[in-house]
Amino acid sequence: MPTAVICGVTGQDGAYLSELLLSKGYQVIGTSRDAEATRASNLRRIGVADRVPIVSTTLTDFRSVMQLLTKYKPDELYNLAGQSSVSLSFEQPVETLESIGQGTITLLEAIRFIGRPMRLYNAGSAECFGDSAEPCTEETPFRPRSPYAVAKATAHWALANYREAYGLHACTGILFNHESPLRSPRFVTRKIVAAACRIASGSKEKLKLGNIDVERDWGWAPEYVDAMWRILQHPVPKDYVIATGVTVSLRDFIQAAFGHVGLNWHDHVENNPELIRPSEIRRGHANPQLARELLGWQAKVHVEQVVTRMIEAERTAEKVLEN
């Protein structure tokens, strides 16, 4: 039975990836900074919490990482840990760089030091591209526009360097936005969906948003964790862009979400300039051709269904709370 370690298992992707790997017969070990304190609510919600032991690990702590890798001897290691919010990264730039940049380098160093063959997947980000005129591929140069993106770019290049310098089987997945009901309410998609559902159930609140003209490629997270797994199964380690290939504006997302619950979004959404980021990416768009050709991976769920599924899940959760 192959063993996989997922660093940052309590997040959205960690939960779905655990579920996928368990279904493929892996033994899955998860990490979190404080295994005792975490409620592991995402793992619980999809019903895999009992099958994924969580170990306290801090990626910036070398001993902690060494201990993890020597004890569990993983065949595959998925690094999904780190500060994950672009907007929070403007408030906590140092912690963002440490948890993502230094965390990844510590992991690479530990793998190199141990010298055991293991495959590493690292969660890269399409935020690294910044504003790009062309649909982004693996060859598109990075122009990061937030502390988060700078940290992800650092991790990206560190990993590529260790792959070339020391022959590690290490890959970065450059994932565009991928959403699900497990998204934290801090993220704009979930914030919109949750507000639309509350307003539909009678709440009088106004939904305050920043720039709604931004355009993004939004996919369905459970499909993206399948791409992560496929990336590690390919015999040659490479980096891949993972996206649906379809870009829409945040305005479209809002309209779809409110429309789905029978509301006109114009009546409920207000602009709040405080939420506009110091530097914003206007448009994210992708060309995920390489993943299709080499991994046979292609997104089946597009943004309309992402909205529908998130709304439905939110309404089910509301009903559970009421009862």
């Binding site: 609510s41 995402n42 801090t58 910036t60 001993r63 906590q92 140092v94």
Partner: protein, 341 residues
């Protein structure tokens, strides 16, 4: 309105302190670390939605590892009192993550002191120091003048924080105070701390969910008080005209074994039938005996613990029995999502 900033608000002491300060009319800001699964169970009952104009408790994202976020917070909140309760607070875990423990528990304190100095704010600072500083004790009982002998990465980090707090008081005139608190427990104690582990274990055994309880060193002796009493002591230290360091303790010491006797007996069980020793829970270097002398706090602050050791044990057993009962019967309180601003 007096403003207080609490780091570590989601922990045991943070939640009791927030309750106390809200009751005293403070506006309370709690620092929370980013996390995928929000761990706010201990403050859900006092948290109101941030859009509610009446709310006096606000949660803000920040991190003791991020000096710039702390500086920004001080500048925007401008607190009158800061209580630094945030830490990697588990002694056994500190042997597994020593570097991280030193960062958060040690340097975290320095980053706040620096931010206070940098901001020029006239604000008071409380540092949560720990009886673990006494470690391999050089005298019994331990008081403010007893030399330290830290025996874990946690205690070493706390020693740094203690001394740097004194140093900033003396070098820059910061109102900075150390509360050297002996063990203080409650139904909100983290589930991996030995007292809570025992009372939770009892509840599980009582409801037939478990039969065994695995523990480490039963001979360790500690001075155990009730956390609710201790946060009052913290507040009192901050109301003094001059900053100083104080020991808070009950003045009684009991072994883990005695805790087991009282707790199991109260639940009508015999611990010898259920408890097994697992050497994994032994610390590489153990602290055998802690016993505090809090004469200074009693005289100068008028502080006194109210809850006795047997009362504390019973309170914790009762609370865990109730918790498991509610879970078994499916009447547990639904958890409401809490958002930080």
């Amino acid at each position: 309105m007096t403003k207080a900033l609490i780091t570590g608000i989601t922990g045991q002491d943070g939640s009791y302190l927030a309750e106390l300060l809200l009751k005293k009319g403070y506006e309370v800001f709690g620092l929370v670390r980013r996390s995928s699964s929000f761990n706010t169970g201990r403050i859900d009952h006092i948290y109101r939605d941030s859009h509610d104009p009446e709310t006096r408790l606000r949660l803000v994202y920040g991190d003791l590892n991020d000096a710039s976020s702390l500086n920004h917070m001080l500048r925007t909140i401008r607190p009158d009192e800061i209580y630094n309760l945030g830490a990697q607070s588990h002694v056994r875990v500190s042997f597994d993550v020593p570097e991280y423990t030193a960062e958060v528990t040690g340097l975290g304190c320095l980053r706040i002191l620096e931010a206070i100095r940098e901001s020029g704010l006239n604000c008071k600072f409380y540092q949560a120091s720990s009886s673990e500083l006494y470690g391999k004790v050089v005298e019994v009982p331990q008081k403010e003048t007893t030399p330290f002998y830290p025996r874990s990465p946690y205690a070493c980090a706390k020693a740094f924080a203690y001394y740097i707090t004194v140093n900033y008081r003396e070098s820059y005139g910061t109102f900075a105070t150390n509360g050297i608190l002996f063990n203080h427990e409650s139904p909100r104690r983290g589930e991996t701390f030995v007292t809570r582990k025992i009372t939770r274990g009892i509840a599980n055994i009582k409801f037939g969910l478990d039969d065994k309880l695995y523990l480490g060193n039963l001979d360790a002796k500690r001075d155990w008080g009730f956390a609710g009493d201790y946060v009052e002591g913290m507040w009192m230290m901050m109301q003094q005209a001059e900053p100083d360091d104080y020991v808070l303790a009950t003045g009684e010491t009991h072994s883990v074994r005695e805790f087991l006797d009282l707790a199991f007996d109260y639940a009508g069980l015999d611990w010898k039938k259920h408890v097994e020793i697992d050497p994994r829970y032994f610390r590489p270097a153990e602290v055998d005996l802690l016993l505090g002398d809090s004469t200074k706090a009693r005289k100068k602050l008028g502080w006194q613990p109210r809850v006795s050791f047997p009362e504390l044990v019973r309170m914790m057993v009762d609370a865990d029995l109730e918790l498991i009962r509610a879970r078994v019967h499916g009447t547990g309180a639904s958890t409401r999502p809490v958002r930080a601003d």
